[in-house]
Symmetry: C2
DNA sequence: TTGAAAGCGGTACCAA
DNA sequence: TTGGTACCGCTTTCAA
């Protein structure tokens, strides 16, 4: 058994240096040591220096739980992901978003707490987050249409920033979003310009706000050119590879097959590509494909046909910005809501060609 | 300003119901209320029932920071991801792993804390995690060859489970890993059986332990058939789309182009597919591709040529198991290290065909 | 410039 | 079966 294992009440714990021990070692009071380490001005430079050296040498780090109990600040941010039994998989861009946010938090000394919440017990879960007090604020992921979490969180007084937006919400709230409607509108316009008329949309679940906005953009562009949206060319499901495979495989075999596909995620696109291949077709020639959330930055300066997308690195940047917004809200809780709309990039690729 | 905002010392906080208030409301002592809520047997059923009702009605949740300070347990698990300035992107399977682990934690009442650690200040970071005491144990991600974090963590006495393994470590430690060596060996054998002799390997960075094992398996299979590994057919880089694109584009144009590619990640594979398409080639006919970490479960019962892979859902399951191992270690810190080796699945697809 | 002491919100020992 | 009280490790007020 390790030497620093000891029994505390009913559990086994490991001993670490604490403030009391450090101050005794230095022959100072806890107060002075605490002040020295936290940069209070009233401590003499000699003392501060001595304390800092000792703290470093003895590898002292303050206990975060005690500190937050005493200050009322946990110095942690929660990222809340709604999950259901149907879709346990996490959108792969989440990793990039959290990495971007993490860089910001690290700089400001915040920890990241991930909370997966099942749809069923949602309300209680948010109240519990609030009452547990283990985070100072949260980032809400995967907002739905008319998401009632926003009213709840506002009422709870827990600072929050929504990654995405929720439509039809009366009261103002903070959010950061990609301009999904505009992105899909431009992508659709682009395909129309290439002569496509049967353009399919492989969307995410339309209960999700972003998916709704994407469809809006798509339909707006079609209608503006006098093309009426064909329900047979629109799918809306959990964004998985198998969905992309089946949807593309099915649609592309039909008599009036689409000549172009608008795909909502790089994961769906993997399945789409496989289906296209299985059918002996070629992308960019037999069928044009535009994928959102793909990482095409390396094709930026190519000479091919344009593709439309939000890249993985832009998601990373979005995470960093969302984190900054939230930290700002936490510093001044009475300030007005912040909002930020990000435009997706236009990128050159080869999966998109003129209609044949 | 919300009604429940008040000033506590120097910061603005929001008021929530606490144990003291709840017990006063009930006319009981804090002790009794605490015992009633935590399932201690000595409290009468009548009292317990009354307390539980009131707690629910008043939406009381214990303050996690105070609780952990008092118990010495934080009821939180850290997931530690090494990052560097070069590769800020997170492997997309991380999301699935954390979702799997999260389900286990939720069941046992644990929170998830994500920590991104820069390579440079690694040692101090782990010591700080330990001293801060905000987690009861950690899952270590992305182990490198002969990773010195393992010795450090063992010495620190912080319970941990490694997702993956580190080679050349003397002392035993807990880990959970996919059998990467065997997976790539079987995949290579399979391609050899199809008549391929120039098989390329697009690997992850070989400082990573998993990548090293994958190359080992690949070379073992080649040598067993008398094929000597060709350095010109082996690449080792950060697993990105652009890397897959460039490597495939480059190799497939050469005089002695590979007839098959072994690809270490679905993200690399996206780039590979794009390169194959750009060159006017067809996967499964002109070049065979086998991708690890891809989600091909929907092709399982097809009639095509086999593909070799660890699916996203298997990563999800691995996360759940790693979490269970860690929780077990935490319950009994003096127990022996646990290990678990997972075999990758064999799946039927179309990207792999005989050599031409 | 330093220190003593009273919290922060719980848990768990001891006594009743 | 219940309650009083001493912690857990830190911050911050107040006094010296």
């Amino acid at each position: 058994m390790p030497h620093n294992l000891y029994k505390f009440k009913t559990v086994w714990l490991y001993q670490t240096m604490n403030l009391k021990q450090l101050s005794q070692h230095l022959g100072l009071s806890q107060t002075t040591v605490s002040r020295a380490l936290n940069g209070y001005p009233e401590v003499s430079e000699t003392t501060r220096d001595r304390v800092q050296r000792a703290a470093h040498a003895l590898n002292y780090s303050p206990n975060a739980r005690a500190k937050s109990l005493a200050t009322g600040r946990s110095h942690a941010i929660g990222h809340v992901l709604p999950v259901s039994d149907q879709h346990e998989m996490v959108n792969p861009i989440f990793g990039d978003f959290i990495a971007g946010a993490g860089a910001t938090y690290a700089r400001e000394g915040y920890e990241i707490v991930i909370t997966l919440i099942e749809d069923r017990k949602e309300k209680d879960a948010y109240r519990a987050i609030r009452a547990r007090g283990s985070v100072d604020g949260i980032i809400v992921h995967g907002p739905r249409m008319a998401d009632d979490r926003i009213a709840l969180l506002t009422q709870l007084g827990l600072p929050f920033v929504v990654h995405g937006r929720a439509s039809d919400i009366d009261s103002p709230y903070s959010w950061l979003d990609i301009n999904n409607g505009r992105a899909f509108q431009r992508a659709t316009e682009f395909l129309l310009d290439l002569g496509h008329r049967r353009i399919a949309l492989l969307n995410g679940r339309e209960s999700m706000d972003f998916a709704h906005r994407r469809r809006d953009g798509y339909e707006t562009a079609l209608r503006a050119r006098g093309v009426s949206p064909d329900p047979g060319l629109m799918r809306s499901e959990e964004m998985t590879e198998i969905y992309g495979y089946r949807a593309a495989h099915d649609m592309l075999q039909r008599a009036q097959a689409p000549t172009a596909l608008l795909v909502s995620s790089m994961i769906i696109a993997i399945g789409v590509r496989r289906a296209v291949q299985d059918l002996g077709l070629e992308m960019g020639r037999d069928v044009s494909v535009i994928t959102h959330d793909d990482d095409l930055s390396y094709l930026k300066n190519g000479e091919d046909v344009p593709l439309f997308t939000a890249t993985r690195s832009s998601v990373h940047a979005a995470g960093a910005q969302a984190a900054e917004m939230l930290l700002q809200l936490i510093q001044s809780p009475a300030s007005a809501p912040l909002t930020k709309l990000i435009e997706a990039e236009l990128i050159i690729g080869r999966s998109t060609g003129p209609a044949r």
